[in-house]
Symmetry: C2
Subunit: 202 residues, 2 copies
């Protein structure tokens, strides 16, 4: 069976948990400590699985490992309805997943993590800038979704999962979605997909 190294706080891990659940692929969950002195993602044993020392990381049936949440998503979604077959649509899925990792996650997910783990004070100097950039990412999403039901090809795909993961818990980082009605309506559409699970569920 596939083994998923993960932590239930992680939105990046949630992408994989949600996708595998929706695809009906069973997996064993191994939760690791991801912060503090007992950080289990930087041990020699784990670094042999992922030299970048981060979850999520999957151990495939043949013992090989794959990491980076959106690369893992691509691997499992290939051939399923959650990854389009059209060449441009596939590149657009990647476009939005790279947007998520470069222009969204470092702001919305990181600020949420600072609140969750009590790290706001020690990062106070960077907070305003990160919040501003997080709202900029929400603005890009709002603009795109104002005339669309989903991010790519009007169909639910792994691009939606990638962006849903941290957007739907943005309030835990004190982001206010009141001014982003298209984003809020899209969150509801994602939540209404068959076999949806919450972030806290494996």
């Amino acid at each position: 069976m596939i083994r998923l190294y993960d932590n239930l706080v992680s939105g990046n891990g949630y992408k994989v948990r949600l996708l595998l659940t929706q695809l009906g692929i069973p997996f064993e969950l191994v939760q690791l400590e991801i912060v503090g002195p007992k950080r289990e993602t930087r041990t020699p044993e784990f670094l042999a699985r992922n030299p970048n020392g981060r979850i999520p990381c999957v151990r495939l049936e043949d013992g090989k490992h794959l990491w980076e949440s959106n690369a893992i998503q691509w691997y499992f979604a290939e051939g399923s309805p959650l990854l389009p077959v059209d060449r441009l649509a596939r590149a657009q899925v990647l476009q939005w997943m790279f947007f998520e990792q470069y222009s969204h996650e470092p702001y919305i997910a990181v600020v949420r993590a600072w609140h969750h783990f009590g790290l706001v004070e020690q990062n106070r100097a960077q907070l305003a800038d990160r919040v501003e950039r997080g709202y900029a990412a929400l603005g890009v999403m709002e603009s795109h979704l104002s005339s669309r039901r989903f991010f790519v090809a009007e169909r639910y795909s792994i691009a939606d999962i990638a962006l849903y993961a941290y957007t739907h818990v943005a309030d835990e980082g004190k982001f206010d979605l009141a001014a982003y009605p298209a984003v809020r309506a899209w969150l509801e559409r994602v939540r209404a997909q068959p076999k949806h699970i919450p972030i806290t569920q494996a």
Copy 2:
């Protein structure tokens, strides 16, 4: 003809210029100002092409636009020798491209940009942390390349282009590659590929 909105300073743009050149795909280059008061990537006209306001962005033959350097790479490399056909190898290409955008570019490319555009002083508070994380990325690369010729499947691919783009100019951000011999040998292998062009060339 394809039109590439770009700037010759950009390593992200260089990925696309290098790939299109190596694939023999002609393109028209449109250089835009990317910093300062004349920033041309945040005009209403450009935001209609890429709502995230960044280069590189390509205008395809049919007038549609695609952005995010590694998504653009994927689109053009599909079906070529620069993108493997094996399912796991394809996911590994994405794994390293997401690593590049999340754990490498925000440190190595951003510090280089601060030096290039005279922004080191105004970012002094963040400099040491960014430099440390840049070296951490180089360490992950060194570990992987110590037993491999290229990042995935022992073949030159768009994963190598993605990581070459800013690693080969890391010295412009005052990063010292002396302690990374496997990275330096790999840089030479990438530079030796047919139809290689320097970052300054369109």
